[in-house]
Symmetry: C2
């Protein structure tokens, strides 16, 4: 998605340790017009997939996921981290997810009420690096007996193994910008670029 | 907002301790068509307020805030809980926020880059009860020297003091559904209802 790549080139910052900071427009401050174009692109790519539900995990995936869900006219479910006391005792599907940027392991959970064997689910998230969040979400879908239509991520760090590990399992992964490498001067190179 | 009240009556559940569970359509599973109507209502109420930025806090406020920001064609900023290691050392405005449903105190933070004295900010959140999250967000705006246009909340628990405490400070608070009380049988009564 060219518009997104341009924005990453202009406002993204490569930090030490392979971190790509896109706080200015994607995951702290969000440009809603760009987010809307991103949702449009996802909806187009997964058109005809008979999706019944969009699934993401709090927090920064929610902005994109709600816009995709609105286009597909299906509910959005977001998995919660550290499931709270507000759940009314409903049982949950849960998965452990390691965070490489923040450190530690989170439990993510979805109430059993909101995912079922009748669902065909599209996973949406902002970032894919090691793929742990997406794998956790896929695990929740699997536990529910639901079908996984695919995984849409705004930015994939192609130099980390998450996306390819999911593809190797036969999962359709669509990344709107796939970063191949970060150059020595911090310049961000996308797939297909020299 | 009648559409919202109908939905709360039909799918909301009053739990012990004054908790209103609206997980089915508002803050775990989200109906994006309802969220879009909610954003439309907020945009209408704050029309002409020359808003330059929408501010919320992760996680469940983001879905509504991004739709409001899209309508107003201004950036959305969401404050982060437990600011992570992905901030590139940028300085933040921070505020302490007590959570009554989950317990404990969170620090919420916004990078100084994304709020400035030139901004006129609309705060959007899903729930207002004790008002601690909204007060924390207002504090971030104050620290930045920005102007506060008002606070829009989807549901206000009118039997808890948060909304009125903000109004007493001269802050404009718009609640799309204001719950007056929960009856002995768990029936939810809105302002103006017997």
């Amino acid at each position: 998605m060219e518009l997104l790549k341009q924005r990453i080139r202009r406002q993204g910052r490569a930090l030490p340790g392979g971190v790509i900071q896109v706080d200015a427009f994607l995951n702290h401050q969000i440009d809603p017009m760009l987010a809307d174009a991103i949702a449009d692109e996802f909806a187009g790519r997964f058109q005809g997939e008979h999706i019944s539900k969009v699934l993401t995990v709090e927090a920064s995936g929610i902005a994109f996921a709600v816009l995709v869900a609105l286009r597909l006219q299906v509910p959005l479910v977001f998995a919660k981290k550290r499931p709270g006391s507000n759940q009314g005792g409903a049982e949950q599907y849960t998965a452990a997810v390691r965070s490489y940027t923040k450190g530690g392991v989170n439990t993510i959970g979805v109430s059993r009420e909101y995912l079922s064997a009748a669902d065909r689910v599209l996973v949406i998230d902002d970032f894919m690096a090691m793929g742990e969040a997406a794998e956790g979400l896929c695990s929740l879908i699997h536990q529910a007996g639901a079908a996984l239509a695919g995984v849409g991520v705004v930015i994939e760090k192609g130099f980390q193994p998450g996306g390819d590990r999911l593809r190797a399992q036969g999962i359709r992964v669509e990344a709107l910008a796939r970063i191949r490498s970060i150059g020595p001067d911090g310049d961000i190179l996308f797939d297909g670029e020299q």
